[in-house]
Amino acid sequence: MLAENVWVGFLIRYHRTEITLRETFVRLLDRLAPNGDRDGRWSQKFWALRGISLTVRPGEVLGVVGRNGSGKTTLLKTLAGILGPDRGRLEVRGRVGCLMSFGVGFNPNLSGRENVFINGSMLGLSRQQLAERLDRIVEFSELGDFIDAPVRTYSAGMRGRLGFSIAIHIDPDILLLDEVLSVGDAAFREKAGSILDRFRAAHKTVVVASHSMKLVEEQCTRAIWLDAGEIRMDGDPAAVIEAYAGKLRAAD
């Protein structure tokens, strides 16, 4: 399976706090009143991504750099299909794998093995594929006999390992990584690093959001600089990093 094409135009996101029925009702009255909603205090549209147009081709390793709050995570989540764009179009072809956090959706009362099936199925694999990969997944996670114990007995690290193991073995066409390779212990990081190499060798598409300039420079074929929801610069990793680092230094 080859990787795909991501074409995205004008992605804008709306951000709001909890709504209750009462608030909605009051808001309605407010709007109807003659001076209603003048200062826009009921709803502020926060555009996390503004007018992003981006095409990613198969085989590219795209690095996304930017300050905290610039929209990196939002961009990745939108590409993954977790968030829908408010405006514009998004087209993604092929299976997307997100490594943003692991072990979500684990049912604590069921065993690790059962959760592999559930989680794996959620992430898009068929039962047959999961059955084939089950041994590899268990081995990679190094959980041993614990795989048959209920997940609520696992430590946080064990849960993370199992989640990561499942996510890795999904074998997606596009891989989205969100600053995730920098957490975890040394052994974990080593494993994670080799994964990236494997993906590059297999000509899959990877999009990485990272704060590590070193990683972007070494691993990526292309980089974009995201600033306040817009793409400031798009091109050769070294050049982009140069510009980004320059801005950071200037800000100090």
Binding site: G84, V104, M122
Partner: protein
């Protein structure tokens, strides 16, 4: 689409309803896994475990029988008690299916906020899983009902053939309502409160433990509401009422379900399912932002 010819699934924003349905069908394995996990997890730690699926409607039926049948005297006394128990049981079973599915759906999006924030999947899977896991209990409950009917000497008639259709209609109706409630529950935290009250109202205005139609062997004075034609009409417009009565016709009275009731239930079921799915689908892209 180019991607389909290459065998790759395409993810385009704002897919049509038909595409969403197809996606749901493609994810049926996930639905099966999730439903299984809900059921297993729900029963695993309990002493009586799976038995509760069967005991639940029976025990509730007994409670209502004692309170309304014996205490309030709605049963009619004597040999009619057993039939009254069966009468209640059928409705209680259907009601528990509906009520359980609705109250769990109201919360299903919020409860799974972690999942929604991290993985891209058709969120419709969540209310569908809730309803299917309740359907499982409902199906087993029906088996118990039939067993009890046989034990009471009410033999199966050809009208048992209506059962698959009735179960399907109930499923469609409950699923539609679940979609709507799940959608509302995602955006409004108050939904659970409103749903609780609405369920209470529906509970008392549907004939679980009282009669509303004239049937052989049921004393005239036990049947309610038949004097006021308009009230009776509006009362019977309730699809849940229609479903109860249809089930009772097929199982207990050994008759074909009254056609106008069947029609009413079918119309409501289809309508609410279509509307519910459309409404829920419109929210698919937004859930992750609000939850």
């Amino acid at each position: 689409m180019l991607s389909r010819s290459q065998g790759l699934p395409a993810v385009v924003c704002a897919p049509t309803l038909a595409e969403r349905l197809r996606e749901l069908y493609a994810r049926r394995e996930t639905i099966r896994f999730l439903t299984g996990s809900y059921l297993k997890a729900g029963h695993r730690d309990k002493v009586l475990g799976h038995l509760w699926s069967l005991l639940d409607p029976l025990l509730f039926m007994l409670v209502y029988f004692l309170v309304f049948g014996v205490l309030f005297g709605l049963a009619g006394g004597g040999g009619r008690s057993l039939r009254f128990m069966l009468y209640i049981l059928i409705a209680v079973l259907t009601w528990r299916f509906f009520q359980g599915a609705i109250s769990q759906s109201a919360n299903c999006i919020r409860a799974n906020r972690g999942l929604i924030h991290e993985i891209s999947f058709p969120k419709a899977i969540l209310p569908v899983t809730v309803v299917l896991s309740r359907l499982y209990d409902f199906a087993w409950g029906l088996v118990v009902v039939v067993a009890m009917l046989l034990a009471a000497g009410v033999w199966p008639t050809i009208h048992y053939l209506w059962l698959p259709l009735l179960v399907a209609l109930t499923l469609v109706f409950v699923q539609g309502a679940a979609f709507i409630v799940a959608y509302l529950g995602a955006f409004f935290a108050d939904t659970t409160n409103v749903v609780d009250v609405a369920l209470r109202l529906l509970f008392y205005t549907s004939p679980i433990f009282y009669y509303v139609r004239h049937k052989p062997g049921v004393p005239e004075h036990q049947v309610f509401l038949t004097e006021h034609a308009t009230l009776h009409f509006w009362y019977m417009l309730n699809p849940i009422t229609c479903l109860y009565e249809c089930f009772r016709d097929a199982l207990l009275w050994g008759q074909a379900p009254e056609l106008r009731l069947l029609g009413c239930a079918a119309a409501f079921a289809l309508l609410i399912c279509l509307v519910g799915f459309a409404v829920f689908a419109s929210g698919e892209g937004k859930f992750a932002k609000y939850v």
